[in-house]
């Protein structure tokens, strides 16, 4: 029973973690809570349904399901990244030097806009993911693990691993960390801060797209409102781990997923969504900087 819940929790946690990374990366560089980030995830879910529906109509799904899924994923990631890139250019860049409240309000505006845009174009009723993966799976230490769950855990794990490598080993990744620590100094060593910010939004949106695809295939149903609740949960995960801290977002997401699934199993599933908010309140009261939050060290 417990192990089963751990598997469910890890599945959910992996998804929260990769959404939370987008929040935390943007916060790390711009000190902006991008409240529209959850909507990118929602767009990812919708785009996946649209593209996979298209491939099904073309007959590709019947001939080669893996190919159809991979193409769907690639297209969805590209489209979501374009949305993320555009969002920053349109809604946040003009407010770069404005008081901090302004971009926050702009983010809420983008969020409302995207929800209504999807509601108008796709309808207010639930959409069904065109492919059912069912309960097929395998036994692992007497616990049922569906192939889809295993896939979600694996993909989120791999994405986090590669992101970690990217951030720590590549020139661009190091420049992102430098920019997060000191934007002015980054410009003074020749880093194009604007393009680093764009890359941050593109990566964050790409990760949210993957989360959207995975959730759409896991639950089979999406609506235009899923980005809101997922966004707040991922935000909680980011705060729990220490906002601005990438390993923190990963850890926070997984903890949140585990708490939700065990809470639903042992306490009540009615309160499934409340656990995230309880955690958010507790962490803000006890340790606002989060589990791995950076203690600000300054040397004069």
């Amino acid at each position: 029973m417990l192990l089963q819940q751990l598997i469910n929790g890890l599945t959910l946690g992996g998804v929260y973690a990769i959404i939370a990374i987008g929040y935390t990366m943007v916060y790390g560089i711009l000190e902006l809570i991008n409240f529209a980030h959850g909507e990118i995830y929602m767009l990812g879910a919708y785009l996946a349904i649209i593209f996979l529906g298209l491939f099904t109509a073309m007959g590709l799904t019947a001939t080669s399901l893996p190919l159809a899924l991979i193409l769907t994923a690639i297209l969805t990631i590209i489209f979501c990244s374009a949305y993320g890139f555009t969002m920053e250019k349109v809604a946040y860049k003009p407010l770069r030097n404005a008081p901090r409240l302004s971009p926050l309000i702009s983010a809420i505006g983008v969020s409302i806009f995207l929800q209504n845009y999807v509601m108008l174009t796709q309808g207010a009723t639930d959409k069904v993911f065109p492919q059912r993966f069912g309960e097929a799976g395998f036994q692992f230490m007497n616990v049922n693990v569906t192939y889809l769950q295993a896939m979600i855990i694996l993909v989120s794990g791999l994405l986090m691993f590669f992101l970690h490598l990217f951030i720590h080993k590549t020139r661009m990744g190091k420049a992102m960390r430098a920019t997060a620590q000191d934007k002015t100094m980054a410009a003074l060593v020749g880093i194009n801060v604007d393009s680093i910010i764009s890359v941050t939004f593109i990566i964050g949106a790409g990760l949210a797209a993957v989360a959207g695809i995975m959730v759409a295939s896991y639950y089979g149903l999406v609506n235009y409102f899923i980005g809101y609740i997922a966004g707040i949960k991922a935000f909680t995960a980011a705060v729990l781990g220490g906002i601005g801290n990438i390993p923190g977002a990963m850890l926070g997401g997984i903890i949140l997923g585990l708490v939700e699934s065990t809470g639903a199993a042992y306490i009540s599933s009615e309160y499934k969504d409340a656990y995230a908010f309880i955690i958010l309140i507790v962490i803000l009261l006890i340790k606002p900087s989060g589990i791995l939050g950076k203690t600000t060290e300054e040397k004069v």
Binding site: K174, Q181, A187, L188, V189, G190
Partner: protein
């Protein structure tokens, strides 16, 4: 090489620079002295493009720097070691140095790295340590080393001696001289006026956002006003 003509810069409504003219020739060390709030740091930040001048012109090797973004100014060969050193605290020493070479895209990377480790052996010892854990003097060396990685033609140094132990101050000044002898032009901002003027070929005295005096280092060292106001004699 670098020429500022009647440059005005302000922060919102406060005018920090009220029309300054500075000229730095290739190969020399120029220094800018003045008290707190005179506009020394503002001058350097304006040259680097972090602050936009309200009016006036800045040219580098004859080319106006107007509307060029800060990272492209670095690519043109103007590097700055800003006030307070601003080492990236959660990047290792080596990563800090690598970031200095960001604009140079690996050109002369290994040769420059060796040169910097030769200049500051302590940085080699500490290359895997986080920048924030270094002492003030070590951070200053790292900040200078980082700037040298970009193959600068002109190096802007903002108060390199601030907050350092006397022995470290003389080491930093010695290093500045060495860097200059290798062909890098230097514009130095200092509160330590005596040491700076001794080192410099020419100097400017900045007061309330205007250039009060300028002349060779030697001339300013013996100028009565300068002696009274900045040399404590």
């Amino acid at each position: 090489m670098l020429k500022l003509t009647s440059v005005h810069t302000s922060y919102d409504h406060i005018k920090a620079l009220k029309g300054i003219d500075i000229e730095v020739d290739k190969g020399e060390i120029a220094c800018l002295i003045g008290s707190n709030g005179a506009g020394k740091t503002t001058t350097l930040l304006t040259i680097s493009g972090i602050l936009k001048p309200d009016s006036g012109e800045i040219t580098f090797e004859g080319e106006p720097l107007k509307n060029i973004s800060p990272h492209n100014i670095v690519n043109k060969g103007i590097c700055q070691v800003p006030e307070g050193r601003r080492v990236f605290p959660r990047l290792t020493v080596l990563e800090n140095i690598e970031m200095g070479a960001f604009g140079a895209k690996g050109k002369n990377f290994h040769r420059n790295l060796e040169k910097i480790f030769l200049l500051f052996p302590i940085l080699k010892e500490r290359k895997n340590q986080m920048g924030g854990t270094l002492s003030g003097g070590e951070q200053q060396m790292l900040a200078i080393g980082r700037a040298l990685m970009a193959n600068p033609k002109l190096l802007l140094l903002d108060e390199p001696s601030l907050g350092l132990a006397p022995i470290m101050v003389s080491k930093i000044f010695k290093t500045i001289k060495e860097i200059n002898e290798e062909g890098v032009t230097i514009l130095l901002v200092e509160q330590n006026a005596k040491a700076a003027l001794r080192l410099s070929h020419c100097g400017y005295v900045l007061e309330n956002g205007t250039i009060k005096l300028h002349g060779s280092g030697e001339e300013l060292l013996h100028n009565e006003d300068v002696k009274k106001a900045y040399l404590g004699e």
